[in-house]
């Protein structure tokens, strides 16, 4: 919108999503200043981070969670903000409901007090996570003070092998460039492998941009994007649709656009991926092994050893065949209908390994409803699985869904940090297909063995 002399830009925000955990202090600050919410119609709220995933029709047992969810409700009422709260048919994980309701669209600027806001970039927009002070800024003025990031383009060319998904693409990229490899950058994902992905698969890629340090990651909008948006609840319609479409088609980068950094990857080299350590960059192809200490840069060796100690893994070990206690399918990374479809198609006619506990958590009420309508829940039940109710769940274990101490989980979520899925929990990140193969065998399993 404008620039502070010798300083940041004043950046206008088209859409602001909020949830119960990172918004209460922002509303509190605003109240203290006596300032109203400037553009309440441009903010949408949902309760997702700490909601239970069973018995959502009952009062939330956990007192502090209940207080936060209640506080969100009150703040939304007091400030005329639309809330898709617990039990609302549109409730769900913030980054799942925005796209599925057609609120997320190309060319917008979108923020949320959540680092996985980069998910929305799959539609060709500027979307990124912010802190609570920034949530307060957006509520107060619909603007943020920002410095221009550097630009990076990541090109993935070629065809993916059978059993390799968009989750594997992004885990592969992060394993190559590390968790800080894109810090300071905004990323555009390009190349034939990216173009060929569905919208939901693109969202999985953009979702994990933050795991390599990029505040945001986007993909140029194309026919796949337009087809996905058309007809959704809040998508433009009629004449407005045509006008929007015309604008959206102008958005892709110019052919001669310059980037501060450009990276190239070959899709054919990507295997189903799995992480072995305590950050998302510590991943290998599923047929691979954990690196040896001497293969790690000297200054990072101490952190590497600490990480393996936490995981109780040894350098050089193979990942396949490792025993798994829990499998978690869900989150803003892989909790959409396509993820449930691919998981269900994989386990159809097979049986869950007896000793594994599996939590399947849909990303939203609409995903849950669609899974029911498509008969996925029945397929899952026949294979010995049950589906829980929507929410962020064991991705960050703010609710009761915690992986117990010392237990191993293969998770379709985005972070394998120490204690992320519960104090002492040991997480291995993977795709829904790898999660499915693992749930059937009870051990880390290459999904390609079944295909």
């Amino acid at each position: 919108m404008s620039e502070v002399p010798d300083g940041p830009s004043v950046f206008y925000i088209d859409r602001h999503f909020i949830h119960e955990v990172t918004s209460p202090q922002a509303f509190g600050g605003l109240k203290e200043r006596g300032a109203p919410v400037f553009r309440p119609e441009q903010t949408v709220a949902t309760a997702d981070h700490n909601v239970p995933t069973v018995d959502q029709h009952l009062t939330i047992h956990e007192e502090l969670s209940r207080v936060q969810v209640e506080k969100l409700r009150q703040n939304c009422i007091d400030n005329d903000v639309t809330l898709y709260g617990l039990n609302h048919p549109y409730n769900g994980i913030v980054h799942v409901i925005g796209p599925e309701l057609g609120i997320t669209r190309p060319g917008m600027t979108i923020v949320c007090g959540d680092s996985h806001t980069s998910t929305h970039g799959a539609f060709g927009n500027i979307a990124f996570g912010i802190g609570t002070s920034e949530v307060e800024m957006v509520l107060a003025s619909q603007c943020l003070m920002l410095n221009k990031p550097k630009k990076m383009r990541i090109n993935v060319e070629g065809d993916l092998d059978k059993g390799v998904t968009s989750k594997d693409i992004i885990l592969y990229i992060i394993s190559k460039i590390s968790t800080g490899g894109a810090t300071g950058y905004f990323v555009e994902y390009a190349g034939s492998a990216i173009r060929s992905l569905s919208m939901e698969a693109r969202m999985t890629v953009c979702n994990m941009s933050i795991e390599m340090g990029a505040r945001g990651g986007l993909i140029a909008p194309d026919e796949t994007t337009f087809k996905y948006i058309k007809g959704r609840k809040y998508a433009p319609a009629g004449e407005q649709w045509e006008k929007s479409l015309e604008y959206w088609k102008t958005l892709p980068s110019d052919p001669d656009a310059e980037f501060d950094k450009e990276l190239y990857f070959n899709a054919g080299e990507i295997e189903p991926m799995i992480t072995y350590g305590t950050n998302p960059g510590m991943g290998v192809g599923i047929t691979g092994r954990i690196p040896l200490v001497e293969e790690i840069e000297k200054s990072s060796q101490a952190s590497f050893i600490k990480s393996l100690e936490y995981m109780q893994f040894s350098p050089g070990e193979e990942m396949q065949g490792k025993k798994v206690d829990y499998v978690f399918v869900g989150s803003c990374t892989n909790g959409r209908i396509e993820d449930l479809r691919s998981f269900a198609a994989f386990v159809k006619g097979k049986k869950k390994a007896g000793e594994v506990t599996v939590w399947i958590v849909p990303g939203s009420r609409q995903v849950e409803k669609q899974a029911e309508e498509e008969g996925l829940i029945k397929i899952l039940e026949e294979a010995g699985f049950e589906m829980r109710q929507p929410g962020c769940s064991a991705c960050l274990a703010m609710n009761e869904d915690k992986i117990p101490e010392g237990k191993y989980a293969v998770s379709t979520s985005n972070r394998n940090f120490e204690g992320r899925q519960g104090p002492g929990a040991r997480t291995m990140l993977a795709s829904p297909l790898t999660a499915a193969a693992t749930a059937i065998r009870g051990r880390v399993t290459d999904p390609r063995n079944f295909l």
Binding site: G28, S115, A140, G180, T183, S299, R415, F417
Partner: protein, 198 residues
């Protein structure tokens, strides 16, 4: 609302020589359930600092009497992961005013600056030297001068310049807050909105 001003600081350091410290380690998600900004320092580095029964772990740098001071020195890529501002609140609430590292995650950096907590990015070499010095002599003092943008290992160790945007530097020195500034722009923003494409 003013933030706490920052000009210069001379202090001892607490060295946390671990890389990629993510915000889940700084403050685990299960402690994000407050609805105010206060009190998060109690659970700073919770699972590294306390055992399951809540007893302080002796070998962790915040425990025991070996290290003290209001400068936290950490390994590279500090503050990655979740955007939770609670991480910055927890560090500040505990009593730190400065975090020194060779590399910071973006969101953490803005959250810190918005709360009067100064992230000081130094070279890998300076960081290594600082760790060695502080671990060898916990009494080592460091001087941070925001006006001059320098970090100096006292009394006669190396000195380095650090980067900070002119705008944020001015905010910190004077205790200004972005929200007050943005609120002053409301009329201009309304004017701008008339020409929005969307």
């Amino acid at each position: 609302m003013p933030i706490e001003k920052f000009t210069t600081l001379i202090s001892k350091c607490v060295p946390l020589a671990i890389e990629n410290v993510d915000t889940d380690q700084i403050i685990p998600a299960r402690f994000l359930k407050a609805t105010t900004r206060d009190g998060f320092g109690e659970n700073l580095f919770r699972d590294w600092r306390y055992d399951k029964s809540g007893k302080p772990k002796e070998d962790f740098v915040l425990n025991g009497s070996r290290y003290e001071g209001s400068i936290l020195v950490t390994g590279k890529n500090f503050g990655s992961g979740s955007s939770r501002e609670h991480a910055a609140w927890a560090i500040k609430d505990y009593g730190f005013r400065v975090v020194v590292s060779s590399f910071f995650a973006d969101i953490f950096k803005s959250n810190a600056l918005n709360n009067g907590l100064l992230p000081v990015q130094v070279s890998d070499r300076f960081l290594e030297h600082l760790f060695q010095q502080v671990e060898a002599d916990p009494g080592t003092e460091v001087k941070i001068d925001l006006e001059k943008q320098t970090i100096h290992l006292l009394p006669d160790g190396p000195q380095e310049q650090f980067e900070i945007g002119a705008y944020k530097k001015n905010c910190l020195i004077n205790g200004y807050d972005d929200i007050d500034y943005l609120l002053s722009l409301k009329e201009k923003i309304s004017e701008w909105e008339k020409n929005r494409v969307l």
